[in-house]
Amino acid sequence: MGRTKNQPTGGQAPVVQRIRLRYTKRGPMRFTSHRDFARAVERAIHRAGIPIAFSQGFTPHPKISFASAAPTGVASEAEYLEIGLRERVDPADLCKALDAALSPGLDVIEAVEANTPGSLADRITASSWRIELPGVSDEQLAAAVAAFVAQSEVLVERMTKQGRRTFDTRDAVASIAAVSSQTSPPGVVGAVPCAILDLVVRQVTPSVRPDDVLSGLRVVADLEPSAPHSLKSARATRLAQGTLTPQGEIVDPLDVDRDPVAIGER
């Protein structure tokens, strides 16, 4: 039978070590989509000589899993992934090797061995974001934030894979604040005001993204940057993601693996 001939000849080596990594999407690399990054990291793993394990089956896939990825166009200082290895390596060496194999801006900043069960995704309940809004003044933003906070529900619309959906953005926002002002970065012709928004948003379904919160600010306060800027040209950066404590802090999901004892004391 042709069918039996189509089966792979050898089994794949088992996973002997799991490594969890934190990486960034900085500068122009924020335009990398999750698909793009997934492909790039797979190639970088091969280039770096990392003994990645593969799944069984006719088309073996490398053992890589990602925790909630930032949307395309949003920068991040705190993205996470986990890989399974067929040989043990020193996590610090792996961190350096993988970082060197990725384009600058896609920087691997930490690697720890997974010592604990469960998935990274289970430890991520919220993200903190910083959003630069060129063409928006501090006063404008402060007024919009005040209006947003005063509401118990702020409905916005967005196209999703399931079609146009309406959902609440207010409830997912754990904290929102307009912070200090600055002028736009050098290189842009004519300095324009640039307000800054700090946000902590809970992981909910459907997910509430930074641009949804901006849509919410437009809904409650007609927030609109001066031309040629638009809310679409706002620059968002994820500063951290992890477990949201009752005190409103975000615990790095690698903490548990880095120091299993410390977590018990929390």
């Binding site: 039978m1 042709g2 069918r3 001939k5 189509n6 792979p8 000849t9 050898g10 122009p28 690399m29 335009f31 990398t32 989509s33 698909r35 793009d36 990054f37 492909r39 790039a40 797979e42 190639r43 970088a44 793993i45 091969h46 280039r47 770096a48 000589g49 990392i50 003994p51 593969f54 006719f58 073996p60 490398p62 395309t72 166009g73 390596v89 060496d93 792996l94 350096k96 090797a97 060197a100 194999a101 384009s103 600058p104 801006g105 970065p185 290189g187 842009v188 012709v189 040629p228 800027h229 638009s230 679409k232 040209s233 706002a234």
Partner: protein
């Protein structure tokens, strides 16, 4: 300031458009050099979308060859999609390179590689966004020298008004020579301006500068003659041939994009040229003679390229890969080296014989089986004689049956429609062939779980081929034949269900035909189409046949010719063809004889295995075919996964 980055302006547009990743550069293998470090600065373009342009081998090779020189800087630019084009025009952002986001207009030379004529309108978009005058005659010393290359450059007449120069043939050595000439001229203080540098290039006899040639026409619209209008300019311009491929093992550092592209693999060219003599195949004609890369160089390139790039797929490319004199050893040697790894090897297979299956079996040893494609090209024995594709129906059935018996459940069969002398019956024969393939396959495997896909391309007669004189068929005739073929395939429901059918309409082919065999008068059509919004003509969702026909009707009657005159008209032996002054090495009398042989269904052998048939290339270019065997074997070592590659501390 020249060479300054426009990224701050561009960055504001990126959140507003689709797939911004394609405009940010930062690919592995890309090179960024300080502007002031170089004497000569090239910008290279494959004028299509990034996802198509980035994998182009030609551009990647020249990019690397140029950047290896300290005094040279080369960057890349691709066609931007209409959403970004509109924003760039609104905000005054110029055409930029993806490497350093420098304005294309700042460079010394702007090289465009055309593997298809349908990229011409995109060239005009790039020129216009770069703020370079569309007409070469309107440019001055501040503008880059616009150079066309690639297979379409073997007849650059339709774009003669827009380019300053064209180079025929292999580019590796040609770009370096042009660079040296430009460097010397710049060091001398650019004497004589644009005219002088173009004259110096023309005098090499391998750079075609259209402005130095006058075209005279006969009252009936045909060309009377093409003659130089300047002293020192050659009557004919010759193609370039890189003879020792082992001395040019590029790409060494393939570009690895972040964005998804059409080919996600590392490609190694195992030989150039082809002597099979398929009469429709321009690539096979203009890249002669055959020059093989040795088995050891091929293996070294595969090793280095995979290690550098992290790709897990390798394609062993050429016009007919199974014809390499040591292909058996290459395949088994590489299969040994990569057995047990997750690297997949493929040989784009076009030769219809059982040997090809053996090779594919070797390459599939580590469990990664790639698709099999066979190209009989013509449905009937008769039409295959016309096009000189020497495959019998028996060969085809036997080969495909062997593939099914060896575990392939799906094969792809490639044909053409609109071939010279083609009748409805020739095309309907494709259905019979496909039915027989499925019947024999079911018999051989005892299984109904086998399929084939019949894929039909439109024939376009190309310059420097025996079919350069041939009339094209009208699109409505092509479309009727394809419809009849589809019905014929499905006339047997059981067999029809196992056969996939893919085809292209006849209309784009007719326009490709206009551009392929056009002369300088066609330039005005291209310009009109572009002005009317023509972009990305190689994409069916952007191509508008109506726009081309309207432009042709508006422009060509002023010259006393029309669209039919360029496409469906048969040429006579005595006619001066627009590309006769461009020398591909092929003897025009031999091409004519081969055209006559086609009409009498007389086949021509392959000079790789049989004596020279005097196509003219070797003597006129002072070259000869270069084939093995070298007798070398690959060592059975596993060259990958040698441990973590941790960079040394800075």
């Amino acid at each position: 300031m020249r060479g300054e980055s426009v990224f701050p302006q561009l960055e504001q547009l990126l959140p507003l458009i689709s797939k911004p990743i394609q405009y940010i550069g930062g690919e592995l293998g890309s090179v960024v050099k300080p502007w002031e470090s170089a004497t000569v600065r090239w910008v290279l373009s494959y004028p299509d979308a990034y996802e198509v342009g980035l994998p182009n081998q030609g551009v990647q090779i020249l990019y690397e060859v140029l950047n290896e020189r300290d005094d040279v800087l080369a960057e890349r630019t691709y066609a931007v999609w209409p959403d970004l084009e509109q924003l760039m025009r609104e905000r005054g952002v110029p055409q930029f390179t993806v490497d350093s986001h420098r304005a294309v207009g700042d460079f010394d030379l702007f090289g465009l590689s055309f593997s298809t004529e349908l990229g011409y309108t995109n060239m005009l978009t790039e020129l216009s966004l770069a703020q370079i005058p569309l007409l070469a005659a309107d440019r001055d010393e501040s503008h880059p020298i616009v150079v066309a290359g690639g297979h379409a450059a073997f007849n650059p007449e339709p774009i003669a008004d827009f380019v300053d120069a064209a180079v025929l043939g292999d580019g590796e050595e040609a770009v370096l020579e042009i660079t040296d000439i430009v460097a010397a001229w710049k060091r001398e203080g650019s004497p004589g301006g644009r005219d002088e540098i173009l004259l110096r290039l023309a005098k090499t006899e391998s750079v075609y500068v259209p402005r130095f040639y006058d075209v005279d026409y006969l009252p009936d619209g045909r060309i009377q003659r093409v003659v130089p209008n300047r002293a020192g300019v050659p009557f004919r311009v010759h193609k370039r041939t890189t003879m020792d491929l082992d001395a040019w093992p590029y790409p060494k550092k393939p570009l690895v994009p972040l964005a998804e592209t059409v080919h996600e693999r590392f490609a190694v060219e195992i030989f150039r040229g082809c002597t099979r003599g398929c009469r429709f195949c321009q690539a096979g004609m203009i890249t002669r003679p055959v020059r093989e890369r040795s088995i050891t160089t091929v293996a070294q390139m595969v090793h280095d390229g995979l290690e550098f790039s992290g790709f897990t797929e390798v394609g062993l490319l050429s016009l007919s890969s199974a014809d390499h004199s040591e292909i058996g050893d290459i395949c088994s040697g590489l299969a040994d080296q990569y057995e047990g790894t997750n690297v997949s090897l493929s040989l784009p297979s076009t030769r219809v014989d059982a040997f090809n299956i053996d090779l594919a079996q070797e390459l599939a040893r580590n469990g990664r089986r790639t698709g099999l494609t066979f190209a009989p090209e013509g449905g009937s024995e008769r039409i295959r004689k016309v096009i000189n594709k020497m495959v019998s129906e028996e060969d085809l059935i036997r080969t495909v049956t062997t593939a099914y018996s060896n575990g392939w459940r799906q094969v792809k069969l490639y044909f053409m429609c609109g071939l010279p002398t083609e009748t409805d019956e020739d095309v309907l024969q494709i259905a019979r062939l496909a039915h027989n393939v499925i019947k024999s396959g079911r018999q051989a495997t005892g299984s109904k779980d086998i399929r084939c896909t019949v894929s039909i391309g439109g024939f376009v007669p190309k310059p420097h081929t025996p079919f350069q004189w041939a009339p094209m068929e009208r699109p409505e005739v092509i479309d009727a034949r394809l419809k009849a073929l589809k019905n014929e395939i499905n006339s047997d429901r059981s067999l029809g269900r196992a056969i996939g059918f893919r085809y292209h309409d006849g209309e784009p082919s007719l326009i490709e035909g206009l551009l392929a065999r056009g002369d300088r008068r066609v330039g005005a059509v291209i310009r009109k189409v572009w002005e009317d919004g023509g972009r990305f003509d190689g994409w069916s969702e952007h191509f508008s046949y109506r726009r081309w026909v309207d432009a042709a009707e508006a422009v060509l009657p002023g010259f006393g010719v029309d669209l039919d005159w360029f496409t469906t008209r048969e040429r006579e032996q005595s006619e001066v063809l627009p590309w006769d002054h461009l020398d591909s090495g092929l003897d025009k009398d031999w091409l004519w004889q081969d055209w006559q042989d086609a009409l009498t269904e007389y086949e021509q052998d392959d000079c790789r295995w049989t004596p020279c048939f005097d196509c003219g290339v070797c003597p006129s270019m002072d070259t000869s075919i270069q084939i093995g065997p070298t007798g070398q074997k690959l060592l059975p070592i596993t060259p990958v996964n040698t441990g973590l590659r941790v960079p040394a501390e800075a």
